[in-house]
């Protein structure tokens, strides 16, 4: 074994009654990529926050090898000490100042506060050297706000390397990347590891873990439930280790398409500061799932806003259930039978300060069953919430618990309960499984397939190609505000879709 650079021993962290980490041991060696795999809430991020000094463990110890290779305990609760010991972390949500350039972001925090001039020359030289060694290239003099997501991630990694990180922690790094960008990242990680860096790669996606890591540690419910070399590990075995049970594979059954439910005919719409749609045509019929593949920021938000009733077409025709749409507002869409699952479930899905019960009833609060003469019918609201919690397995302390205490997966289940329980005819699912663990993902898939089975049409917008291929009857690719023709999923392969997502549709057609 190569030299040990990091050892976590017996890490336990409790938040009140919740045990987020339970006696976790973990070793990391020089030049290896260790994948930390687990469902959401398995304790991966908590563990890394302890490593980085954001949290103090209730018990256990973090030791890091010094220059001479001997392990020394790291003072707990000190991000400063973690940085000094050579631990670099790239968070899931980037921590870059958008109005500064890449170089300024990289230097940020490394300079003394009380100095008037900045020594950019030396820093530029050092970053340049790091870029050459690692193969990470990015224009350092462009404001971060104008960089793509992939470029921003490179800036984050450069920031860590600039500070002489010997241990690099990447938290869900591919969540925001295109497949091609992710492949680029994997190549970078392998190159960095070959250069002696020790990498911890946090993920809940099996495919990429198998692609990039040397060793896999699986966390479940705060405990380490397994550790194995990547070579020879099998997908299904690891998945079962993660969730602790068989993972039922979602399968579509063939079904007749019915009448059209949602039609866009050469619709254009502006997207505000995000990309809009241009000349887009789409039809979703009863009993089919139409998937929209694409890298985020290509007009998905505008398409979702149309289907959610939040936007109206600037030009072109939009028909819902066979009729021209008159009232473009969320309430009439919801009442007409459109179930809407928002992309950002925390921001647009729930009101965190309100209770689970209030959130479940929020869309229908004006319906007679929940109010009489403007006064709320608490009994009916509570009963509805209890049923939702039961039927959709929403894990919470009860209908009166504030929604913000729920995990991401349970918030999504709450939203599913809110929108799907009314037998909607059309379902808009915008990134419905992003950030969810496998268990919750499977549940979302099952519910969408059940809606299709019942005869509803589903508009599934996703960045997860596996999900799209598995669920969709037809797939359309969105690129630069334009929708391709929706093609049967059976005839499509990932390569073609990937090319189309990158804007190479014309070449293929030629």
């Amino acid at each position: 074994m190569p030299d040990l650079v990091l050892r976590l021993s017996g890490i336990t962290k409790r938040f009140g009654p919740l045990v987020a980490n339970d006696g976790v041991d973990l070793d990391l060696h020089r030049g290896e990529v260790l994948a930390l795999l687990g469902e959401n809430g398995a304790g991966k991020t908590t563990l890394m926050n302890i490593l980085f000094g954001h949290y103090v463990a209730n018990s256990g110890e973090v030791s890091v090898a010094g220059e001479d290779g001997t392990l020394r305990p790291l003072p707990p609760g000190s991000p400063h000490a973690a940085l000094a010991a050579g631990i670099g972390m790239v968070h899931q949500h980037f921590t870059l100042a958008e109005n500064l350039t890449g170089l300024e972001n990289i230097m940020l925090g490394t300079e003394p506060v009380l100095r008037l001039s900045r020594r950019t020359g030396a820093a530029r030289k050092k970053v340049g050297a790091v870029m050459r060694e690692s193969g990470l290239a990015v224009d350092l003099d462009v404001q971060v706000s104008r960089l793509t997501v992939g470029e921003r991630q490179r800036v984050e990694i450069l920031k860590a390397l600039y500070r002489d990180a010997r241990i690099l922690v990447l938290d869900e790094p591919t969540a925001v990347l295109t497949p091609a960008e992710a492949d680029g990242l994997f190549a970078t990680i392998r190159a960095l590891a070959a250069g002696g860096l020790a990498v911890i790669f946090i993920s809940h996606k099996l495919g990429e873990v198998l692609a990039v890591s040397n060793r896999i540690a699986v966390l479940r419910g705060g405990r380490k439930v397994g550790e194995m070399a990547t070579a020879g590990a099998d997908r299904r075995g690891i998945a079962e280790m993660m969730v602790g049970r068989d993972v039922p594979a979602s399968r579509r059954t063939p079904r007749e398409r019915g009448r059209p439910l949602f039609e866009l005919d050469r619709v254009s719409v502006g997207g505000g500061h995000r990309r809009g749609l241009e000349d887009a045509s789409l039809a979703i019929a009863e009993g089919e799932i139409v998937g929209i593949a694409g890298v985020s920021g290509n007009g998905q938000a505008a398409l979702a806003a149309l289907a959610a009733g939040l936007a109206r077409p600037a030009s072109g025709a939009m028909r819902l259930f066979g009729a021209e749409v008159r009232g473009h507002d969320p309430r009439s869409f919801s009442r007409a039978g459109v179930a809407r699952i928002p992309e950002d479930r925390h921001h647009d899905g729930v009101v965190g300060a309100m209770t689970v019960a209030e959130n479940v009833a929020l869309e229908e609060i004006r319906e007679p069953r929940f109010q009489r003469g403007g006064f709320l019918r608490f009994g009916a609201i509570r009963a509805r919430a209890e049923q939702a919690i039961r039927d959709y397995d929403v894990r919470c302390q009860g209908p009166e618990a504030p929604a913000r205490l729920l995990s991401g997966g349970n918030i999504q289940k709450l939203i599913l309960a809110r929108v799907l329980d009314r037998e909607p005819r059309l379902v808009l699912a915008n990134q419905p499984t992003r950030g969810l663990d496998i268990g919750a993902q499977t549940e979302v898939h099952r519910r969408l397939l059940a809606a299709r089975e019942r005869g509803a049409g589903v508009l599934l917008i996703s960045e997860d190609l596996d999900e799209l291929m598995m669920l969709s009857d037809r797939i359309s690719v969105i690129y630069a505000g334009r929708l391709s023709e929706a093609l049967p999923a059976e005839g499509l392969d990932r390569g073609t879709l990937g090319l189309m997502m990158a804007g190479h549709a014309e070449e293929k057609a030629a």
């Binding site: 021993s9 017996g10 938040f15 009140g16 103090v56 463990a57 209730n58 018990s59 256990g60 110890e61 305990p73 707990p76 609760g77 959610a308 009733g309 939040l310 507002d329 969320p330 309430r331 009439s332 869409f333 919801s334 009442r335 809407r340 928002p342 921001h347 647009d348 899905g349 729930v350 009101v351 965190g352 300060a353 309100m354 209030e358 929020l362 869309e363 609060i365 004006r366 109010q371 403007g374 006064f375 709320l376 504030p402 205490l405």
Partner: protein, 358 residues
């Protein structure tokens, strides 16, 4: 080392205790300038308590002060719940007073059972409309309502002055800029003979009860809370955000307008341009001390009113400037803001980390 940690879920007791401690802390801090002014703080606060609660007259005076503060405090609390930052309570109060004077000084002659509701309604409408403008500007153009409502306070005060020098000037006032008196039919009756406390207090308490029921038990209340806590999610769920904000603005402005009616038609009898010693601004402190709860507004308004009334008595007894009251009010706002922080976060002294397994 001191670590700041969020509390998983702020407890109910703490939410109530925090403003109480904020009030106590403000009084304790104000003891320093009182001592510097050469008075014994304990004596000073003794005078304050007696001055505010020591006799039926004193208590009546305190309640008289409480009345407008309940209404302006409620106006701020309702608006703040919807994240609509109404700093214009003062202007809306004067708008209400102006309307009360326009209607209640003889323009209409009707019996009290008609006149009183009419005056109240006129004041409420005037206050509501005066806040509608800033609310619509915010909704339509994103104009910051903190700025617009704050500046409109001065516009309204100057407008009142103009009216008092012009059309509304009482010809019998010997040149003083004041309006004609409210007619007997339009005056809000006093509650206790020979005391100043008037039925505006009843209006305030009824408004508190009504707002409390509305926030807790009605669709409107739930929509207001949803819009205030997370407007994008409320919009996504089909709650009419614009209509809700307009509704809140009208309600908040109307409440502040009612405060003006009470001062004119219940207390002073005529309008001057020093009708309110900043009740609109003090209402913001009341709302914050109350934690935006309608019931809390009553307690907070009583506290602030007692400080003001008591400080006058303290000033007479000990020769300490009664500006100390303003100081206490300002300090209690600062203390409640700090207190609000401690209800959401806690400090942990992490000199040694919790027993490590080493």
């Amino acid at each position: 080392m001191i670590v700041i940690e969020p509390r998983p879920s702020p407890s109910k007791a703490l939410t109530i205790a925090a403003p109480v401690f904020a009030g106590i802390a403000a009084l304790a801090l104000a003891a320093i300038p009182i001592a510097l002014a050469g008075a014994n703080p304990i004596d000073a606060y003794g005078y304050m308590v007696t001055g505010a609660f020591g006799s039926l007259f004193a208590f009546s005076e305190t309640l008289t002060r409480t009345t407008p503060l309940i209404l302006t405090g409620l106006a701020a609390a309702v608006a703040f719940r919807a994240r609509l930052w109404n700093i214009g309570g003062e202007g809306q109060l004067y708008a209400g007073a102006l309307a009360a004077v326009a209607v209640g000084t003889g323009a209409i002659d009707a019996p009290p059972w008609l006149m009183i509701p009419l005056v109240l309604l006129a004041g409420a409408i005037a206050g509501a409309l005066f806040f509608l403008g800033p609310a619509l500007l915010k909704l339509r153009f994103g104009a910051d309502e903190v700025v617009t409502t704050l500046l409109l306070n001065f516009v309204m005060l100057l407008f009142v002055q103009m009216m008092l020098e012009g059309p509304l000037k009482d010809p019998m006032s010997l040149g003083w800029p004041q309006s004609a008196p409210i007619t007997d039919a339009a005056a809000l009756p006093t509650l206790i003979p020979r005391m100043r406390v008037h039925s505006g207090l009843i209006v305030g308490l009824v408004a508190v009860a009504a707002v409390w029921v509305m926030m807790r038990r009605t669709v409107w209340g739930m929509e207001i809370r949803a819009v205030g806590e997370n407007a994008p999610a409320a919009r996504y769920a089909g709650i009419p955000v614009t209509a809700t904000v307009v509704r809140v603005a009208l309600l908040s402005g109307a409440l502040a307008g009612l405060a003006g009616v009470g001062e004119v038609a219940g207390l002073k009898g005529y309008l001057t341009n020093d009708l309110s010693p900043g009740f609109g601004y003090a209402g913001i402190v009341v709302a914050m001390l109350a934690g935006l709860s309608p019931l809390g507004v009553v307690a907070a308004a009583l506290f602030i009113a007692a400080v003001f009334v008591g400080a006058d008595s303290m000033s007479r007894g000990l020769g300490v400037a009664s500006y100390i009251a303003d100081l206490v009010v300002a300090l209690s706002l600062l203390c409640v803001l700090v207190g609000g922080f401690f209800t959401r976060f806690r400090l942990r002294f992490a000199g040694r980390p919790a027993q490590a397994g080493s």
